[in-house]
C-alpha cells in the first residue's frame, strides 16, 4: 500500500521531471488569477464609479447604460461561454492563450467586482464627499482621493475572496490550451494512465492554496482593522 503510494508519487511528480509540469501549471493558475483580479478591480472600479455617478447626478447616461449591459451579460452567461467568445471571436487573431485567459477572466471578474465596489463606495459616509466638495475639490478628485481609498479599504476582504474564487474558476482554462494546474494533471495522466494520484494531488494543492490564502487575508484584515482603531 505504502509502496504503491511512493510509486504513484514518483510516477506523477519525479519521473521525467514532471513536477516541473505541475509547477508551470501552478504558475499559470496563479498568474491568471492574479492578473484577472487586477483587471477586474480596475474595470469594476470604473464601472462602479460610472454607476454611482449616474445615480447621484443623472450624468453619463450612455456610459451607465453600457455598464448596465456589460454587467447584465457577464452575470447572466457562463464563464466558459465567455471564454469561448473571447478566444474564438474577439481575439481570434491571437494565439496568446494565457493573455486571452487573463482578459476573459478579468472582464468576467470586473462585473462582480463592480457590484462589490459599488457597495464599498456607497458605504462611505456621504459627509466625506460633502467635505471634499465643500473645500472646492472637483467631484473627480473627491472620488479619487477621498472616497475611493476608503471604499477600497472597505472592500479589500471581498476582493480577496474574489481572487480565491478566480483561483478555482481558472481550472477550466485548459480547453484554450493553457497549461494550468488542472491541465498539468491531465497531461501527466495521459502519460502515466493513473488518474487517482494526479487528480487527488491537484485537489490537495487547490485546497491548500485556497485556505492558505484565506488565512493570509484574514491576518491582513485584522492588521488593517487594528491600524484603523489607532
Amino acid at each position: 500500500m505504502f509502496e504503491n503510494l511512493i510509486l504513484a508519487f514518483e510516477k506523477t511528480f519525479i519521473r521525467e521531471d514532471r513536477y516541473k509540469m505541475f509547477l508551470g501549471g501552478l504558475g499559470n493558475t496563479l498568474i491568471i488569477a492574479l492578473c484577472a483580479t487586477l483587471i477586474g478591480v480596475v474595470i469594476g472600479a470604473l464601472v462602479a464609479i460610472v454607476k454611482v455617478y449616474y445615480k447621484q447626478t443623472g450624468k453619463l447616461k450612455y456610459l451607465n447604460a453600457i455598464c448596465e449591459i456589460y454587467t447584465t451579460i457577464i452575470r447572466g452567461t457562463p464563464i466558459v461561454v465567455q471564454l469561448l467568445i473571447t478566444y474564438n471571436i474577439i481575439f481570434v487573431w491571437s494565439t496568446q492563450a494565457v493573455a486571452i485567459g487573463i482578459m476573459g477572466f478579468g472582464i468576467n471578474s470586473g462585473a462582480y467586482v463592480a457590484e462589490i465596489m459599488r457597495g464599498g463606495i456607497n458605504a462611505v459616509d456621504i459627509g466625506q464627499t460633502e467635505a471634499g466638495r465643500s473645500l472646492g475639490l472637483s467631484s473627480a478628485t473627491t472620488m479619487k482621493s477621498i472616497v475611493l481609498p476608503q471604499a477600497i479599504k472597505n472592500v479589500l476582504p471581498a476582493i480577496g475572496n474574489e481572487f480565491i474564487a478566480l483561483l478555482k474558476e481558472t481550472s477550466v482554462i485548459g480547453f484554450l490550451g493553457v497549461i494550468d494546474l488542472t491541465k498539468a494533471a491531465e497531461r501527466v495522466i495521459s502519460r502515466t494512465a493513473d488518474v487517482y494520484f494526479p487528480y487527488l494531488s491537484i485537489a490537495a494543492i487547490y485546497l491548500i492554496l485556497v485556505y492558505g490564502l484565506n488565512y493570509l487575508f484574514k491576518l491582513l484584515e485584522r492588521r488593517l482593522a487594528k491600524s484603523d482603531r489607532g
Partner: protein, 309 residues
C-alpha cells in the same frame, strides 16, 4: 457678499422645505440661524454652497451667480418669452385701456404667480437672454467654494489622512499653495487651536472637540472669506463644546463673515450681529440678538425661545 434671492427648495418635487427665502449677508457679518428642528436651517445653509441644489431662486456670492439663472427674477427675460408675447396680445385685445406700464406689471406678476414659463418653448430670444445673463455672471461652483469654508456637525475629517494631510490636501491639490506653504500654514493653524502635537495623528485618535477644531482649521487653510457652520457643537460631549466655541469666537473677533446654525443661545447672544429665526421653511423673524431674544415679535419665535431659554 452673499445674496440669496427667492430661494425655494423641494426634495423630490414634493414637500417644500424652503419657501421664498431671501437674505443678504454683508461682509464681516456674523449671522446666527436658530429655529426648531426640521425648520430648514441646514437646508438653507447647504444651499449657499450648493451642497443642496435650490429648486428656484438665485444665490450670488461676491457678485457672482452660483446657481442657474432664475427667469422670474429678471423682468427682461420674462418679457422676451413667447408666453409674455401671447399674453400681451390677449391683454391688448381684452383690456385696451391699460397703460403700457400697468400692462407690463400685471403680466409679469401673473406669469410669476402662476409659474407660466416653460424653459423649452419660450423661443430663441428668451434663451439668448438667459444665456447672456448666465455667461456674464456665473462662477463655477468649485471656485466659489474655495472661498466658502464649511464645518459640519459630524466633522467629516478624512479618516485615511493624518491631521496635517487633512489640512493641506485641498490647498495643495488645487495648487493654491505649494506643499511647503501649506505645511507652514497648517503648523500655524494647529498652534492657534493648541493641537500642534496632533499633526501626525489620525482623526480616529482625536476626541470630538479636537476633531471639530481640526475641521475648522482645515476650512481656514483655504483662506476663506465666509465660514458656514452647521450645528458645529451638537455632536460633542458637553465638556468639549467650549473649546470649539472659543475657536469660533476668536474667528468672529478677526471679523470673518460667519453663518452659524446653532442651538447655543449663549454663543448667539455674544457673537451674532444678526439672528435669523427660521421655521416652516422660511425666515419668520430677524433682528439683532437684543431684538430677537428680548423682544421677539412673532408668536413662533416667542414659543421657540420659551422652550430653549
Amino acid at each position: 457678499m452673499i445674496e440669496v434671492k427667492n430661494l425655494y427648495k423641494t426634495f423630490d418635487g414634493k414637500n417644500m422645505i424652503l419657501k421664498n427665502v431671501s437674505y443678504h449677508v454683508k461682509r464681516g457679518e456674523k449671522l446666527v440661524i436658530v429655529g426648531p428642528s426640521g425648520g430648514g436651517k441646514s437646508t438653507f445653509l447647504r444651499c449657499i454652497n450648493l451642497l443642496e441644489k435650490p429648486t428656484y431662486g438665485e444665490i450670488w456670492v461676491n457678485g457672482k451667480l452660483i446657481t442657474p439663472v432664475d427667469p422670474y427674477l429678471h423682468f427682461d427675460v420674462i418679457e422676451a418669452s413667447l408666453t409674455y408675447g401671447k399674453l400681451y396680445e390677449k391683454s391688448v385685445a381684452e383690456n385696451p385701456g391699460l397703460s403700457e406700464e400697468e400692462r407690463r406689471e400685471m403680466l409679469i406678476r401673473e406669469i410669476k404667480e402662476k409659474d407660466l414659463l416653460h424653459e423649452k418653448n419660450e423661443g430663441g430670444e428668451y434663451r439668448k437672454r438667459m444665456k447672456q445673463i448666465f455667461a456674464a455672471n456665473h462662477i463655477q461652483i468649485d471656485l466659489a467654494r474655495q472661498k466658502m469654508g464649511m464645518v459640519f456637525q459630524h466633522f467629516n475629517l478624512f479618516p485615511h489622512m493624518t491631521v496635517k494631510e487633512n489640512i493641506t490636501f485641498a490647498p495643495v491639490k488645487l495648487k493654491l499653495q505649494t506643499p511647503e506653504e501649506a505645511s507652514a500654514k497648517a503648523d500655524k493653524l494647529l498652534a492657534r487651536v493648541g493641537l500642534t502635537e496632533k499633526a501626525d495623528a489620525y482623526p480616529s485618535q482625536l476626541s470630538g472637540g479636537q476633531k471639530q477644531r481640526i475641521a475648522i482649521i482645515r476650512a481656514l487653510a483655504m483662506d476663506p472669506e465666509i465660514m458656514l457652520f452647521d450645528e458645529p457643537t451638537s455632536a460633542l460631549d458637553p465638556e468639549m463644546v467650549g473649546e470649539v466655541l472659543d475657536v469660533m469666537k476668536e474667528l468672529a473677533r478677526e471679523n470673518m463673515t460667519m453663518l452659524v446654525v446653532t442651538h447655543e443661545m449663549g454663543f448667539a447672544r455674544e457673537v451674532a450681529d444678526r439672528i435669523l429665526f427660521m421655521a416652516d421653511g422660511g425666515i419668520l423673524e430677524e433682528g439683532t440678538p437684543d431684538e430677537l431674544f428680548n423682544h421677539p415679535k412673532h408668536p413662533r419665535t416667542q414659543q421657540f425661545l420659551r422652550c430653549v431659554l
